[in-house]
Structures are given as C-alpha cells and as structure tokens.
Symmetry: C2
DNA sequence: GCATTGTGCTAGTACAAATAGAACAATAGG
DNA sequence: CCTATTGTTCTATTTGTACTAGCACAATGC
C-alpha cells in the first residue's frame, strides 16, 4: 500500500489520501477483504491529524469502497471491482482531453454538468 | 442561447453560468465567431452581479473557449470544436459510472488523479 | 463624443479545512 | 474475562480561501 500526499498541494489532505487509496484500487492492488492500515497509524506516518485520516476513510466508506468498524478497521468491499473497471475507461477520456488541450478543471466541470442532467 | 442558473444550488453562480455556456458548445449550438451576450446583460437577465457574470466569461477565456475584448464582448474561438467532440465521449463515461453506482464526486476525483499523473 | 464593455482594486461575509483534546463504543485476540 | 486496538462522537479553535459585490477606470466601437 503506497499512500502519498503532498502538503504543498491545494487539494485537501483528506481528499489526497482518499484519492491515493482509490488509485491503488484502480490499479488492482486492492482486493475485497483487504484491510487498510489503521487511521491512527496512517496519520503518524503521513504526519497529519488523526481526524484528517479518518475523514478520508469516511469519505471512502460513503462511496462504498470500504467498510468501517471499530476495533476492526477499514476493509475493502466488493465494489473495488468497479474501480478497476473505471481505471481503464478514465485514462482514455483523459488522454482525449489532453490531446485537444482541455484542462482538468474544464473536463471535470463538463462531467459534473453531464452527470447532473 | 439558453443560459440557466439555479441560485439554490451549492455550485458557484459563475461556474453554473460557465457550464451553461459550455453545454451550448457541447451541443453544437455555438460556432466560431459567435458572440455571447454582454456580461451586464446576462447579469440583469439572470439577476446576478456583473462581476459574477464576468468571472464566468473570464473562466471561459482562460479555457480558450472565448476571446474577451472591451467594447466588443465575448467571441467564441475555434476551440469550440473540441467541446463538441468531448460532448460525445463524456456521456459514455458518465453512463458507465452511473451504472456501477459511482458518484459524481468520486468520478471527478478519479479523473483529477489520472490527469495529474 | 458617448455609450458600451471588460478590467482592477478593495472589501465584507461565509464556508471549509485542518488541528486538537477528550471521552466513548465495538471488535479482536489472548 | 480482560485488554489493547480501532473507529465514533463532540466541542472548539485557528487559518485560509471562495464567493459576491460596489466603485472607479480603460479600451473599444459606432
């Protein structure tokens, strides 16, 4: 499990952490039943507050990627399969956008627009 | 030109307005050389501040979708073609995400992650 | 010249992120 | 059964940023 964050980035720490976990899922490095390191443990190793680490985990729980239970930790659900599926489709779209010079902000805005309608 | 915004939405007004213009572009309703209504005009008809309308236009300028000039207004550039291209690819990905129950926030986060790497 | 249109500057308000401390509840394992 | 582990809940503070807005200014077009 490679979890990285960049304290200098403008992206919130908890989002970076969640994204880092998703990336592992997209690459197929996570399987149903796998257990993520404890929030307290992650907080120490990344030098962030426990609440921040927990918030990332709670975000992933809201998405359904992990189950959270006291004493047991964060366990990957069966939904991890969907993430690796999208892990193939997404790079294609991103490549197209980059080719024609459409930025991240614009692309994500267009997706939100499409999703909402 | 159908420009709509929802004051009740949590999405910033200027982003909604910009998205509304992009949507027109994606649908092929805008062509190179077309002129958008004046910011002050849009502000009045949508009942928002001029700065808010202007900020939307400046966002579109930064994207390269329009050229902005004093006294002349906002003119659509040749990049509009790319927007209608993506207007076909994006719905496919969004449909896939919806099928497997992946939300907007998650999807856009994954795209940012992919874009950045 | 004069109206139109975008730009710059300034500022108030509100919201979100991150940190912190403390107490609590469920689970796992010896 | 007991204990350590792990997430949950609550309150609070600090800090930074986003959004909106008002006013004066500058460039363009007719």
């Amino acid at each position: 499990m490679l979890l990285r964050i960049d304290p200098a980035s403008s992206v919130p720490l908890f989002e970076q952490l969640a994204a880092s976990v998703r990336a592992e899922a997209s690459r197929g490095n996570l399987r149903e039943g796998d257990r993520l390191p404890a929030a307290r443990e992650v907080a120490v190793s990344l030098d962030i507050n426990v609440h921040t680490a927990l918030r990332a985990y709670q975000l992933l729980r809201d998405e359904g990627l992990v189950d959270l239970r006291r004493g047991r930790g964060a366990v990957v659900t069966d939904r991890v399969a969907h993430y690796s599926e999208l892990g193939e489709a997404i790079p294609r779209l991103v490549a197209s956008a980059k080719e024609v010079g459409v930025g991240v902000q614009t692309l994500t805005a267009m997706i939100r627009q499409e999703y909402g309608s």
